[in-house]
């Protein structure tokens, strides 16, 4: 099944491969980094990424807190 995103302007062989690559990367950027999220439900099949998403909410609050503390201190200086 050929992808509808494989629209390419063919120049030399090298360029064609790069443009396919670019097309894929642009698509990946949209599909992987954006879109609706049902928090805590995304499981991607590699152990290290698993842990990150499961621990997402915990990680968020600790980072936000660190940020708040620093901002607070800065305004005091």
């Amino acid at each position: 099944m050929s992808s509808p995103f494989d629209q390419i302007i063919v120049n030399e062989g090298g360029e064609q491969i790069d443009e396919l690559e670019l097309s894929l990367l642009e698509t990946l950027d949209h599909v992987l980094n954006r879109g609706l999220v049902i928090a805590g439900e995304i499981t991607i099949s590699v152990a290290d990424i698993d842990l990150i998403f499961l621990g997402l909410n915990v990680l968020l609050s600790s980072v936000e807190t660190a940020n708040e503390v620093l901002r607070h201190r800065e305004t005091k200086l």
């Binding site: 790069d18 670019l22 990367l25 990946l28 590699v46 152990a47 842990l51 980072v63 660190a66």
Partner: protein
């Protein structure tokens, strides 16, 4: 449903640039935390935890660096204090580098992608 002559059906996405290689390079960075393999064994789990912990430390380390530079700019540190602070931060940076190597992690590995809220660093 909402399509009409004034509201045409969208074409397939087109991607256009005059600098293909440049963007391939940059977009590879953006999707660099893409896992490329399945590896659900003990070593990966350990590495996953290490990543999480080291990223937090790295984040804090960078905050400290910024704070130090700020204080230095602010003029309220003596030359001796600046030297001491600098040395301490140097050692912290080196230590973290060591830990990264021990766990076989590269710099990009520590840039957690927190989904819609963006990257950590």
């Amino acid at each position: 449903m909402e399509l009409s002559p004034e509201n045409p059906r969208p074409a397939e996405p087109e991607i256009e640039t005059s600098h293909v290689e440049e963007f391939v390079e940059q977009l590879s960075c953006v999707t660099s935390t893409l896992p490329s393999r399945i590896n659900i064994d003990a070593q990966s789990v350990e590495q996953g935890l290490a990543k999480l912990v080291l990223t937090l430390i790295e984040f804090i380390r960078r905050l400290l660096e910024k704070q130090a530079v700020r204080r230095m700019e602010g003029g309220d540190l003596s030359p001796e204090q600046i030297e001491e602070l600098g040395l301490a931060l140097m050692r912290l940076e080196a230590k973290l580098q060591e830990l990264k190597t021990q766990f076989g992690l590269a710099d990009e590995d520590l840039n957690l992608d927190l989904g819609p809220i963006g990257r950590l660093i």
